[in-house]
């Protein structure tokens, strides 16, 4: 199996901050807005270098989304920053009408997604945001897996015309993708070729999928691991090609199984190539307080959960 090296744990939100800082230097039309969470979103560098292009809106996310929509009128490319919960559910109608339906070029950048937000608990741990965002016509939904990929994705979405939801997280996780990668929206990445089962993972679950694949290899099971950083538009071609070879699939995401990546994959397979599938995701539940590791364990979102799901789906081939 192909080896991936963790170059040193880092948080995906810092990847966002690094990408935004770079955009500040390369893209004069990029502006940033934040709802009182500059430190959490790691936006300090951009602000320091481009104070005139930063808008502190206070604890007023609805206004932030409207301001961002308005800033596009005049050619700006606004990046909004707050937690995933406040980037989606709290402002759904603002995003729906003023951004998505109006076709505005706003980049909704959402940190602290999922249970790995940790100790703050369920009020802040949104597990429904991918579903909310992917249902909006014209919205691109991206959930990169590590620091390097989040940085690359942040830079890439500035050159994509149209609204984007960019989802990332709080904890320090393995950083294993290349530093100089080119991020291609909608293009799934083959991380490990295998023949027995496909594991399609997004976000923090990609690293877990690689660990699971290694453990499975020791049991004589050849797992193909695909990094689905873009949930919408979904790379259907890559998924279909893989399952036609392996005959079964496990989807893995830090999100409710309702509305998440797994559901998008299931629809693709049901209509084009029916395939047994298992879902590593939260089971229609809210989260709770705890450390990220404890929560990933309790809610079945780690490499062990993926391994179990693989063993289960293999029996259904």
């Amino acid at each position: 199996m192909k080896k991936y090296i963790d170059s040193g744990k880092n948080d995906t939100r810092s990847g966002f901050g690094a990408g935004l800082a770079e955009l500040g230097r390369s893209h004069p039309n990029v502006v940033a807005l934040c709802a009182d969470l500059i430190g959490s979103l790691k936006m300090e560098k951009f602000i320091e270098e481009n104070p005139e292009r930063f808008f502190q809106v206070g604890i007023a996310e609805a206004n932030m989304m409207g301001l961002a929509a308005g800033l596009t009128i005049g050619g700006k490319i606004p990046f909004t920053g707050t937690f995933a919960n406040f980037s989606t559910g709290r402002v759904y109608d603002q995003i729906r009408q003023s951004i998505a339906y109006s076709g505005k070029n706003v980049k909704i950048c959402a940190s602290h997604a999922g249970v790995t937000l940790g100790e703050d608990g369920a009020t802040h741990q949104i597990l429904e945001d991918i579903g909310l965002m992917k249902m909006l016509p014209g919205m691109t939904v991206i959930n990169p897996c590590d620091f390097n990929q989040t940085k690359a994705a942040t830079i890439a979405i500035a050159d994509h015309l149209g609204p984007v939801y960019l989802r990332f997280g709080r904890p320090k996780v393995a950083n294993f993708t290349p530093t100089d990668q080119k991020f291609e929206i909608g293009k799934a990445l083959m991380l490990n070729e295998g023949t027995d089962v496909t594991i399609a993972a997004t976000g923090h679950l990609v690293w877990e999928a690689l660990i699971a694949a290694e453990n499975l290899e020791n049991q004589g099971i050849s797992a193909e691991v695909i990094n689905i950083h873009t949930i919408k538009p979904l790379d259907e071609e890559a998924l279909l090609k893989s399952v036609k070879k392996t005959g079964c699939i496990v989807s893995a995401e830090e999100h409710n199984y309702l509305g998440g990546l797994g559901e998008s994959i299931a629809r693709t397979l049901a209509t084009q190539h029916p395939t047994p599938q298992e879902f590593v995701a939260t089971q229609d539940t809210f989260g709770e307080s705890g450390t990220p590791e404890q929560l990933m364990e309790k809610y079945g979102l780690n490499n062990k959960a993926i391994e179990t799901a693989v063993l289960s789906v293999l029996k259904r081939k």
């Binding site: 609805a62 308005g70 009128i73 050619g75 339906y101």
Partner: protein
């Protein structure tokens, strides 16, 4: 001035005929704001020929209370943004003239969808900030219903505007005192709107005769003179919902109801054709 008055009357006819044809839409607020729209698009705003989304080097208008789309569409058509005949397609399938304004169908003159209330102030402020970043000293105008101020997002935006000295915006509130379920004072009393805006740090002026073209021109010129002085500017426009059609005035009944054939004939007879029906 007679040209503007002719446009006002013709536009009233457009509104009435549009909502009558599809037996739906919002004539009350549209009629009440007719003079304001005509003054805005023919005298007050500095507009370029043609339409581009970015609105560089021209004034920009945002309609937050999107349900008064009939007056917006009629004004835009008669200002040359799209063919007047297209008013025939209001609210019909495959039309660019959706029930509430939308950019989705590419109708020239529309820069944001509105209809779900309370969002336009934020959008207008964003566009105002973009103008400042672009070194464009043109102004942003916006219109909001008074009932619409019940939406909380407005107050986030109102606080933001003053706190950040967004002084290139003139936000007008249509104070007609009516909303769908009745008088605003009955549905949810808003108290002293002027005092509220002032408490939030805005420069507020009132146009007490909001259905009088002269009063609007004088009041908006005053508003314009107050821009660029560190404070956002608010105009409280006192209008009568349903203005220009006697049986539609002084009631909330025609907020979202179309006239029947007889009522249309009566209403049109009170507003005889001027520059020509579409």
């Amino acid at each position: 001035m007679s040209k503007l008055q002719d446009l006002v009357v013709q536009t009233r006819r457009d509104i009435l005929r549009m909502v009558h044809k599809v037996n739906s839409g919002h004539p009350g607020g549209s009629l009440g704001c007719t003079e304001f729209f005509i003054a805005l698009y023919h005298e007050i705003m500095d507009l370029k020929e043609g339409f581009d989304m970015d609105g560089r080097d021209e004034d920009i208008f945002f309609l937050s209370n999107g349900h008064i789309s009939p007056i917006f569409y009629s004004t835009l058509a008669r200002r040359g943004y799209f063919p007047v005949e297209e008013l025939n397609t209001f609210r019909l399938i495959n039309s660019r003239l959706q029930g509430h304004p939308a950019t989705h169908e590419g109708l020239p003159g529309i820069r944001i969808a509105s209809g779900s209330l309370g969002q336009g102030m934020s959008v207008a402020l964003g566009a105002a900030q973009a103008k400042k970043l672009n070194g464009d000293d043109h102004l942003i105008y916006s219109l909001h219903g008074d009932g619409e101020l019940q939406e909380g997002q407005n107050w986030e935006a109102i606080m933001y505007a003053a706190g950040n000295k967004v002084d290139n915006i003139i936000a007008t509130v249509d104070l007609n005192g009516q909303q769908i379920d009745g008088a605003t004072d009955t549905v949810l009393p808003m108290g002293d709107v002027k005092a509220k805006f002032e408490a939030f740090g805005w420069d507020v002026l009132e146009i007490t005769k909001g259905n009088d073209l002269d009063a609007i021109l004088v009041g908006m010129a005053d508003a314009k003179s107050r821009t660029g002085k560190g404070k956002p500017v608010c105009v409280l426009l006192h209008t009568v919902m349903g203005h220009g059609v006697d049986f539609m005035m002084y009631t909330h009944a025609w907020h979202g109801k179309a006239p029947n054939d007889e009522q249309l004939a009566d209403a049109l007879s009170q507003n005889p054709e001027t520059i020509g029906d579409y």
